[in-house]
Amino acid sequence: MMTKSMRNGLGLALGLLVAGAALAAGADLGQTTKQATNWVAIGMFGAFVTITLFITKWAAARTKSAADFYTAGGGITGFQNGLAIAGDYMSAASFLGISGLVFASGFDGLIFSIGWLVGWPVITFLMAERLRNLGKFTFADVAAYRFAQTPTRIFAACGSLVVVAFYMIAQMVGAGQLIKVLFGLEYQYAVMIVGVLMMMYVLFGGMTATTWVQIIKAIMLLTGATFMALAVLFQFGFNPEALFTKAVEIHSKHDAIMSPGALIKDPVSAISVGMALMFGTAGLPHILMRFFTVPSAKEARKSVGWATTWIGYFYILTFIIGFGAVVLLTQDPAAYYVDGDLAKGLKGGGNMAAIHLANAVGGNVFLGFISAVAFATILAVVSGLTLSGASAVSHDLYATVFMKGQADSDHELRVSKITTVCLGIVAVFLGIAFEKENVAYMVMLAFAIACSANFPVLFMSVLWKDCTTKGAVAGGFVGLISSLTLTVLSASVWEAVLKNPKGSALFPYSSPALFSMTAAFLTIYLVSKMDNSKQAQLERSLYPAQKVRSETGFGAASASGH
């Protein structure tokens, strides 16, 4: 049952959305209340865990070298990798958050999902094959290809770890809240279970196990969501107009759900948030890392083609699911609404729309299935994050900076595993520490940093011949620090988290990306132009060879290590 604090939490999250202060508030599952233990859901989830642990055992036998650990030996096909990328990217928050947003305000949910998709063509057109051709294990391999290793790697590791940390906290807190409500487990235990399972996948099975967890989860999520959307459309003779008409009739906002609401406030925020999503996707370390698991640039392109297709298809489904929830849940208010009263909102909070709809169209067994899918989704995302965090430490910091590239594969692998355990413990600790905090801004912040720090450095180092180490590192840090600072000064942190009075935020827009990304590019340009050191001249002279490799794939790392 909905407590007062929970309603406040939800109201806060919704308030943020309406203010347009955090487009990513959909990534926040808000405060939830513990529900009765759901044994069907636990059984289904148990089956998922059993299967994935068997896969991990099989993967462990194949994970012998550092290359196996980071890239599954480079033997994943484009189609498999496309599904794994989709599994890595479609978080529980986007499934439950977007369908919940559609349920609450209709049209705005659509704007939201479009934003999360547009980064993919950018990766496809500009980055995918160049990344695959230049890289080996991490995106730092690409950025540092012709640059001084130590400074570039230190920057790349900072960029990766900061993005991973914010993304991870949001996922862990979401996981705890979600599992509390779905399975009736205590928050702390839920977070610990997630931490332990993700550590086991990554520690023993490395990239191979992580990839398969992501593939299985993507298939489960796509199947479940397809079934729900079809079940909804079936009731309306597959005529969306009939579905919308009924929804407008029932929804408390009536016809307003058919047009854009308050999600987009001012044009500057709209553009800035759009840039964060569009270019941030191309700077997420756990996504970039997936490009090194395929054997060639051809397969890398196929991966993004499939990933874009699945993710776009999934977002169309969430839109139908949200509208389906508006119509179908009102047919049995006692089962889904607090005290059976439509005005009091859904049991368990606004993000439960898709979960309740699962019950409405498929009964308790399907509800259990969708709950298990939501749990699996979180595991798949946090495993990918942990793996990329571990690689940044072991490959970029330990093997390249600390050992100057002299570390042998066994040592590097051992460091990755130790880091995995440390990251798992830190993630659980942070998840528990942030339980009662508002984490709505964190995913958006991760995107802002990815697009202001990682993306400009990657883009300029690969595509601009005059770029130098000094320029790239200075610009990268400018992007990192400015995006972080401006986010703290914006309403979503300054007012919502630090509890300063409303209207006191110094930075008035929803995302810093427009400013921080521009600052990063400018700094890279100016510092590189002014840099005429010997090292800079050497780096420029190495560009033609780098370009041959990035454009034609000549000399690219083959299915690594074997």
Binding site: P121, F125, E241, M258, P267, G274, F554, G555
Partner: protein
């Protein structure tokens, strides 16, 4: 392959006039596609920012569905289609061109 030989071949690739032509052809194509996607996306977002009413207009008399909904779904579909068009062309035409250039340098 030794590094020197690799460098040799790489230099020959770079010297081939076909290489420059190929790189600029593909770069132009990927930049045009990027601009196309940005126009579609930012066009839609700016439409929302500046003209919410128009997006809320009904598709036809007596209908509930507003113009903005098929447009929004259209943006998703166009994104998927453009991405796959690029992947198809890059994986056939461009890959053949690039393989040919590498082969010529190896002779």
């Amino acid at each position: 392959m030794k590094d020197e030989m690799k460098g040799d071949i790489a230099a020959r690739i770079a010297a081939n006039p076909k290489y420059e032509k190929f790189v600029s052809l593909r770069s132009r194509y990927s930049i045009i596609m990027t601009i196309l996607v940005m126009c579609v996306y930012y066009g839609y977002i700016l439409l929302i920012a500046f003209n919410k009413e128009w997006l809320g207009t009904k598709l036809g008399a007596g209908m509930t569905t507003s113009i903005g909904i098929p447009m929004g779904v259209g943006v998703i579909v166009i994104t998927i289609i453009l991405t796959n068009i690029y992947v198809r062309r890059a994986n056939t035409e461009f890959d053949e061109l690039s393989a040919e250039i590498v082969k010529e340098a190896n002779q």
